[in-house]
């Protein structure tokens, strides 16, 4: 036996492959950065990635109080679409959808983006009128949208119950073929990996406890891992935005609510598309692995507890069963809640604040996942140029004073 020969592996697990390569470093915070992004969810990570990629700004930290993408990014129902009513929304959501279409190649990382189409069901005459109007608005904005009748709904998704003998019969639907779903964790990991490759520090278990403002200008952050000096701060903290903004005396027109979702056990592929229903209030798709993924409406009260009430799920299940009687024997595997930041007009707030070098991205409420690449792109632009990108220019904080609201309650799908 010579010294060069490694001994054969022994012991349990010794024949398993090595741990895969880590997708990002886990650095300690540096004393200072050019830009600090608060919130290591999808929006924060995408903003970091595009700051580096589009604007060459790489002396950047993303601070996350828990673990990367463990908040709403891990809790959403992964639906991606751009069929919103108003021109302002069409701009940013369609920009996002176009980025989704090239994202896997751009990131060099699989995200399981599946353009399986989204049906938004109409259950009343008013629903039908509003939906047809929205289809026409979408088409004028160059967004693929169709009005389909109940028979076509059945063709696209054979398990939907289109019988007229139910409490809220299906009278038709809007259909966006380019819409779909993606694997939310992979999306976050892809952006995190990309940002890390540009040298951006992703700092976990680092909660912001104070924002240092000198002469109306942000100069640094107090965190549970020490003070960090920075030229610019970009807030991307979703449900906790009000808490952060209150640190600088800024109040926001936001109410944070629990929003619940759940998955079934793994099932054979039975659901080929995504079905959403505003009126009976459930939205369903089937994940690649086989779980039925279903989202509910928000819990009515303000809450930060990341859990909701059982009767919300009960109602959501009764709605799901009426639409999909075939689900009657499926078992619930787990349910959870995220904290969503709802605004009065169901549109986001993305842009500058009254405090210099403090930028705000919040108010995506119940539908922020679909916007991940689009808002990352636009928010990075806003931070880099101290000026809103044309796509997020309408979504200012002061629209609640000027009255230029972008009312998307009809297209937001989750009532609040």
């Amino acid at each position: 036996m010579t010294e060069n020969v490694r001994p054969l592996p022994s012991g349990p697990g010794a024949d398993l492959p090595e741990h895969p390569k880590f997708l990002w470093r886990n650095p300690d915070p540096k004393p200072s950065y050019d830009v600090v992004i608060v919130g290591g969810g999808g929006h924060g990570l995408a903003t970091a990635y595009y700051l580096a990629k589009n604007h060459g700004i790489t002396n950047v930290a993303v601070l996350e109080k828990g673990w990367l993408a463990g908040g709403n990014m891990a809790r959403n129902t992964t639906i991606i679409r751009s069929n919103y009513l108003w021109d302002e929304s069409s701009g940013i959501y369609e920009h996002s959808l176009k980025l989704w279409e090239g994202l896997e190649e751009d990131l060099g990382y699989p995200i399981l983006f599946s353009q399986r189409g989204v049906l938004n069901l109409a259950h009343s005459l008013q629903d039908v009128r509003d939906s047809v109007r929205r289809v026409n608005a979408n088409r004028l904005n160059g967004i693929d949208a169709e009005w389909v009748d109940p028979a076509q709904v059945k063709e696209l998704c054979p398990i939907v119950n289109i019988s007229p003998d139910v409490r809220y019969p299906v009278l038709g639907a809007t259909y966006q073929p380019r819409a779909g779903i993606a694997k939310h964790d992979y999306v976050a990991w892809g952006f995190a990996r990309g940002a890390n490759e540009y040298g951006i520090d992703l700092i976990q278990n680092c909660e912001v406890t104070g924002i240092d403002v000198v002469g109306g200008k942000v100069v640094g952050l107090q965190t549970t891992r020490g003070r960090i000096a920075t030229g610019k701060v970009a807030l991307a903290a979703a449900g906790h935005s009000s808490v952060l903004a209150s640190m600088v005396g800024l109040s926001l027109p936001i109410q944070s609510h629990p929003l619940q979702a759940l998955v079934s056990e793994l099932l054979e592929p039975i659901h080929p598309t995504v079905v959403m229903s505003n009126a009976v209030h459930v939205y369903v798709s089937q994940a690649h692995k086989g779980e039925l993924v279903m989202g509910a409406g928000i819990d009515s009260y303000n809450g930060y507890g990341q859990r909701g009430a059982f009767h919300i799920i009960e109602r959501q299940m009764s709605a799901a069963l009426e639409l999909f009687p075939v689900f009657a024997r499926a078992h619930l595997l787990r349910s959870w809640a995220g904290i969503v930041d709802t605004t009065p007009d169901a549109s986001p707030i993305v842009g500058l604040t009254p405090i210099e070098n403090l930028y705000l991205n919040c108010g995506w409420g119940t539908g922020g996942f679909k916007a991940t690449p689009g808002v990352g792109w636009c928010f990075a632009h806003t931070v880099a140029h101290d000026q809103a990108h044309p796509y997020n220019a309408p979504f200012t904080l002061d629209r609640f004073t000027t009255g230029a609201l972008v009312d998307e309650h009809g297209a937001a799908a989750v009532a609040h």
């Binding site: 009000s242 936001i254 109410q255 944070s256 009260y301 809450g303 507890g305």
Partner: protein, 93 residues
């Protein structure tokens, strides 16, 4: 589902109630003199703390009366309930 104590009917299940948002938001005294920013604040801005929040509830499927409550938004625990017109009780966090 949690039990909510209606100040008139006692503890009932949450489904019997509707939520009314932040309490003690009164209509502006001089509406004609309000600036746009002040109107915005009255119409669109409500407290959104992580912690105790004074808020309105209505016992919709019971006595149908409104009342106020202080609830911790981080645990959803009701810390106090009190009738309309009564002062907001001090609650220990």
């Amino acid at each position: 589902m949690q039990l909510i104590r209606c100040p008139w009917c006692g503890s009932r299940e949450e489904v019997e109630f509707h939520y009314g948002g932040q309490a003690h938001v009164s209509y502006p005294e001089n509406p004609a003199e309000l600036s746009d920013a002040e109107w915005a604040r009255y119409v669109f801005f409500r407290a959104n703390p992580r912690g105790p929040l004074a808020e309105r509830w209505v016992h919709a499927a019971g006595c149908r009366r409104w009342f106020n409550a202080v609830r911790d938004t981080s645990t959803h625990e009701l810390l106090a309930v009190y009738r309309i017109g009564e002062p907001q009780p001090e609650v220990a966090r």
